[in-house]
């Protein structure tokens, strides 16, 4: 039986820090899957993703959310410096899907699900307007990730 779902790397925050980068991502999978678990006890912060260290305004995204009190909304960001993938507020789980990350023909898409129990439930689609293969992925937030936050990246093989 071929292993189709393999852990690539995992990291647990031991000293508060504002970002984490998965570097040297192997080019041997079809898709990537990232799981982030964190907790924010004071106020919310935005969570952003960048690829290959690109800090230019080469990202766009569309998201929709519910705040838990009947309120809902959707917004779009164009020519942004990162892909907005949700908020950290209260207990937070973020799940990121990145398909066909190693091809060098198409722009790269990311599909995200984010749940922040003290703020909102959120889903987004984002695009990195670059045809390069993804070799690193940086997750950042305003303020610092709390100690104990975890980041794990998995590779998925189609065959």
């Amino acid at each position: 039986m071929a292993a189709t779902y393999e852990p690539i790397a995992t990291f647990t925050v031991s000293t508060a820090q504002s970002s984490y980068t998965f570097s040297s991502i192997p080019q041997t999978y079809t898709d990537l899957y990232v799981v982030i678990s964190s907790y924010e006890g004071s106020s919310g912060a935005s969570l952003g993703v960048q690829f290959n260290g690109d800090t230019g305004n080469n990202y766009c995204y569309t998201f929709t959310y519910g705040d838990g009190s009947g309120g809902t909304g959707s917004q779009k960001g164009n020519n942004a410096g990162s892909i907005y993938v949700g908020q950290i507020n209260g207990g937070t789980v973020s799940l990121l899907n990145i398909n066909n990350y190693s091809n060098t023909t198409t722009y790269k898409n990311i599909l995200t699900r984010n749940g922040a129990t003290a703020q909102s439930v959120f889903t987004a689609i984002g695009t990195w307007q670059n045809t390069n293969a993804i070799t690193s992925l940086t997750i950042s937030r305003g303020g610092n990730f709390t100690v104990g936050s975890t980041f794990t990246i998995y590779g998925i093989k189609a065959a």
């Binding site: 292993a3 852990p7 519910g66 838990g68 809902t72 207990g91 984010n114 749940g115 909102s120 975890t150």
Partner: protein
């Protein structure tokens, strides 16, 4: 290469019951990093197309909260719960088209840690008629105990025959 996804337990109901528990008696192994529960359910509650499903861990129904974002028939809404982890429209019900069951995925990272436990749920009910729903839920169990069992309970009625649940353990190394 390590096996990342391992089936811990599978259940398919042979008759109706009030709830479904994975790891009954506290038997979920503590050797994985994350848990994923795939559930497909239908309630026998009459007069309804769907029902919410409540999540509890270790038989404990305290210290829970959740937010749900949903879109039913294309109209979005959201709810906040301060004492429960409700997933809106987590199971179909008696007024739904026959033989339709929900599609439901629960993800719990770091279920053995001594921190509070966060979770994420995606759910959908398709009915080939009105009253269809997608839902996203964020939940928090403010308890530091490791998760040893998971129980899903419909808001109304009982879960009927052929309701199924599959619990997977996920290793990050």
């Amino acid at each position: 290469m390590a096996t990342t996804y391992t089936l811990i337990e599978a259940q398919t109901l042979s008759s109706s019951q009030a709830s479904i528990t994975l790891g009954s008696g506290g038997t979920i192994p503590q050797i994985y990093t994350d848990l994923q529960l795939l559930f497909s359910g239908r309630s026998n509650s009459s007069g309804r197309v769907s029902v919410a499903v409540n999540i509890s861990f270790n038989g404990n129904t305290s210290n829970r909260s959740s937010k749900t974002f949903y879109a039913s028939n294309g109209t979005p809404g959201s709810d906040n719960f301060t004492t429960n982890i409700w997933t809106q429209d987590g199971a179909t019900a008696a007024s739904a088209t026959s033989s339709t069951f929900s599609n439901y995925s629960l993800y719990v990272p770091n279920y053995t840690s001594s921190n509070y436990k966060s979770l994420s749920v995606d759910s959908v009910i398709e009915n080939n008629a009105a009253n269809v729903t997608i839902g996203f839920t964020a939940g928090l169990w403010s308890n530091t105990a490791a998760i040893t069992s998971i129980t899903l309970t419909p808001e109304f009625g009982s879960l009927i025959q052929y309701t199924s649940a599959y619990l997977y353990g996920i290793k990050n190394s």
